[in-house]
């Protein structure tokens, strides 16, 4: 607003849209393109669209059929979780988002946060799985939709992180055998597509286990995600370790600290602080990657949308469902990305 009082709109347009012949031409082309695209998009998404869950109206309409979402919203959000029990996944999602919200505020980083996570995870498990306190038991293969996506992502991040730190430390270790094992694991996992790791989990883990022991599909996928995420996070942590000046290691050695004292009290606190922004980027990538469970036949947000559109009446409106799910993913990932930038700025001012 203050800028506007000093610079007139015409000056602004001249400086930002027509500051050279090339830019002027570019502006004209872009405005023409937007003038062609936006009304079409608006007509499709709003004026010609059907908002009521009426498949007959959708078939005759020219625009989008948002009625598909109205009709199938609960299937998309919660998958095949028993209809009458769907308040439980809803409560889980709310609890999880609250915990994540608290965790994102650095002022609340304390022991209490760990405890509330532990309690929270227990409560969420009871809510989702049931079987106690009069809640009917719901098998994990009926879990689906947004809760499944969030559970896969959050558990994957929480459990892969310690593993990633160990792998990163191992990779920088003086011990050749440990170093070799860590390098082999990291490079092997990073060198192959995630889908092969998921195939391994769904097809090969059953072969690895002794007869009579089975692990359910969700846990198998979760293990695959944890191992996969750990390899990528380990490389980020390694970047942080490499950024620590040599003097810090030498000073810790001079004080006579043991390896774990040195690592735990001197090196890691500094290294992890440096890598928060790239780590959040890795988390974002990982959150998006959870959508791959659709390929091994699970009903996460994306899988549940496909399930919803397998209803013959609503089959043509898969596109609308995908657009909706894309916006949900975008909302989560964009929030995380903005958070990472905010932390980065905060860290920069703190070190100055």
């Amino acid at each position: 607003m203050r800028a506007a009082s000093r610079i007139s709109p015409i000056d602004w347009v001249r400086a930002n849209l027509f500051n050279s012949w090339l830019n002027g031409a570019l502006t004209v082309v872009l405005v023409a393109f937007l003038a062609w695209l936006l009304p079409k998009l608006y007509a499709w998404a709003v004026t010609d669209a059907v908002f009521a869950p009426d498949s007959n109206a959708c078939r005759t309409a020219d625009g989008a059929c948002w009625g598909f979402l109205v009709e199938k919203l609960r299937l998309i959000m919660f998958g095949t979780y028993p209809y009458t029990e769907q308040w439980r996944p809803l409560a889980t999602v709310i609890l999880l988002l609250t915990l994540i919200g608290f965790t994102m505020n650095p002022r609340l980083w304390s022991r209490w946060l760990w405890i509330s996570w532990l309690v929270g995870v227990l409560v969420m498990w009871i809510l989702m799985n049931g079987g106690v306190f009069g809640l009917p038991e719901v098998e994990t293969d009926r879990w689906g939709g947004l809760p499944l996506t969030l559970i896969l992502a959050v558990n994957g991040i929480v459990f892969s992180f310690p593993l990633a730190i160990l792998l990163a430390l191992g990779r920088r270790s003086d011990m050749p055998a440990i170093k070799a094992i860590c390098i082999a694991f990291i490079e092997l996992v990073r060198g192959v597509p995630l889908i092969t790791v998921l195939f391994m989990a769904s097809l090969m883990i059953p072969l690895f286990l002794p007869e009579g022991i089975t692990i359910d599909k969700l846990l198998r996928a979760q293990i695959a995600f944890i191992l996969f995420a750990a390899a990528y996070e380990a490389e980020v942590v390694r970047g942080g370790l490499q950024a620590i000046p040599k003097g810090q290691f030498e000073a810790a050695d001079a004080l006579g600290l043991s390896y774990w004292q040195k690592t735990g009290f001197i090196i890691l606190p500094q290294a992890l602080r440096v890598v928060i922004p790239p780590m959040v980027n890795t988390f974002i990538g990982f959150f998006k990657d959870t959508s791959l469970v659709i390929i091994i036949g699970m009903f996460d947000l994306l899988g549940a949308t496909r399930l919803a559109s397998s209803d013959p009446v609503w089959r043509p409106y898969y596109v609308e469902g995908l657009v909706f799910v894309a916006l949900i993913y975008f909302a989560f990932c964009f929030t995380m990305a903005e958070y990472s930038r905010w932390v980065e700025r905060r860290l920069n001012t703190a070190t100055r």
């Binding site: 570019l26 889908i195 690895f208 002794p210 007869e211 959508s291 596109v319 964009f334």
Partner: protein, 399 residues
């Protein structure tokens, strides 16, 4: 330590007693423990697997690759039918992976460079649009994007069926794919291709010669325009000299479908679009960061020397930006190649899709997955090796 420094002269230094808490002893101890655990776990898993395979009557080994596959593949770059072997089917899948990955890398690079430069533009509108493009596409899973493209293409609400499609300069864009005219085989086209190859080689030679001459004598030579002329003119001349053929196979409606000419399947288009658009957003961000990483003083100094803007971009900004851009760019190329495995979700027959079909048919899960892993690992390691070589070369130039 003290007993070593204070020893009386003439006596042999006493070897320090190596207790359990000695560093080297600890190191060896822990390595032995970890190795034993890893090997033990590995042996346990192998033993279980052997027992499981036996009870399920699955024969291990890659012998099945020589057997007849019995399934068809939608599109292939080499001749293939259901009578061919499983091994050949995998080769078809591998070539399809390379096909979509190579084209995807090229297109994503072009698009990404435009987006990256656009986001730094002084034009407010362009900067905002490209920033929105980058933000939105980076934050939506690539699998979702591929499926979205695919369901847009095969949906009759957005694209016409083959019978309703109107030709556009002989091309048809339908929900069954994209149809286009292809030249009828003629030696003129072949001559044109040879001309193109010769033109590229000649342009490269001219560029090298011009650079060396300028370094020796300081006399510049318009190598870019000469090269561009050679690359365009030589193929055209060769094509014209061998009879200037213009006959085309035109796609036509035949019954319920379109035949003749060339066809790109909806699956290929969806995978290609999905990978290209997603990766271009990341490349855009990398290009942007790379250009921003060049210190402003470099450009100001170049201006003070009186260099023209184009020369500054080519000789000052780009070489320095590229040093920052190339390493993350390579990892984006690798990501694109690995993400092409998501084709399995929409039925484009890439390596993973074909291998998955074979696993379902034969039950040879271990063999199938190991083949996919070995192929992708080889690609990754080869790229990493290339990257190291490039980095070394760049460092030599720097110093």
């Amino acid at each position: 330590m003290t007993d070593l420094t204070l020893r009386t002269p003439g006596t042999k230094p006493k070897r320090a007693r190596r207790g359990f808490y000695d560093r080297d002893v600890q190191a060896i101890f822990w390595q032995v423990v970890v190795l034993a655990l890893v090997i033990g776990l590995g042996a346990y898993l192998v033993r279980n697997t052997m027992i499981n395979l036996e009870t399920r009557h699955i024969h291990t080994g890659y012998g099945y690759l020589g057997r007849e596959s019995g399934f068809d593949i939608g599109e292939s770059l080499i001749p293939y039918s259901a009578a061919n072997t499983y091994g050949r089917a995998l080769l078809v899948g591998f070539l399809n992976t390379l096909h979509v990955a190579v084209i995807g890398v090229a297109l994503a690079t072009i698009l990404g460079v435009f987006v990256g430069i656009g986001s730094l533009s002084k034009n407010w509108l362009l900067a905002k649009i490209t920033a929105g493009y980058i933000h939105f596409l980076r934050n939506v899973p690539v699998l979702l994007q591929i499926i979205l493209w695919y369901s847009l293409i095969i949906n009759e609400r957005f694209l016409p069926g083959p019978r309703q499609a109107e030709p556009f300069f002989g091309m048809y864009l339908t929900q069954r794919g994209f149809y286009f005219p292809v030249p009828v085989a003629h030696q003129g086209w072949f001559a044109g291709l040879v001309g193109l190859a010769v033109g590229v080689l000649a342009a490269w030679a001219v560029g090298r010669w011009a650079k060396r001459r300028q370094e020796l004598t300081g006399v510049p030579f318009p190598a870019f325009w000469t090269g561009a002329f050679l690359i365009v003119a030589l193929p055209v001349l060769a094509w014209a000299a061998f009879g200037a053929p213009t006959d085309l196979h035109m796609p036509q409606l035949m019954g319920f479908n379109i035949g003749g000419g060339g066809r790109i399947t909806p699956e290929f288009v969806a995978v290609l679009f999905g990978l290209t658009v997603y990766t271009s957003a990341f490349i855009g961000e990398i290009v942007r960061a790379g250009i921003l990483s060049v210190p402003k003083g470099q450009i100001e100094a170049a201006r003070a020397l009186g260099l023209r803007e184009g020369v500054i971009l080519r000789k000052i900004t780009l070489p320095q930006a590229l040093r920052v851009i190339i390493p993350p760019l390579t990892s984006q190329y690798l990501n694109l190649t690995k993400n092409s495995s998501l084709s399995v979700a929409i039925g484009y027959p890439d390596l993973v899709n074909v291998a998955n079909t074979e696993i379902n048919q034969t039950g040879q899960a271990i063999e199938g997955i190991s083949i996919i892993m070995i192929v992708y690992l080889s690609i990754s390691l080869a790229t990493a090796a290339l990257m190291n070589w490039y980095n070394k070369k760049k460092q030599l130039v720097e110093r």
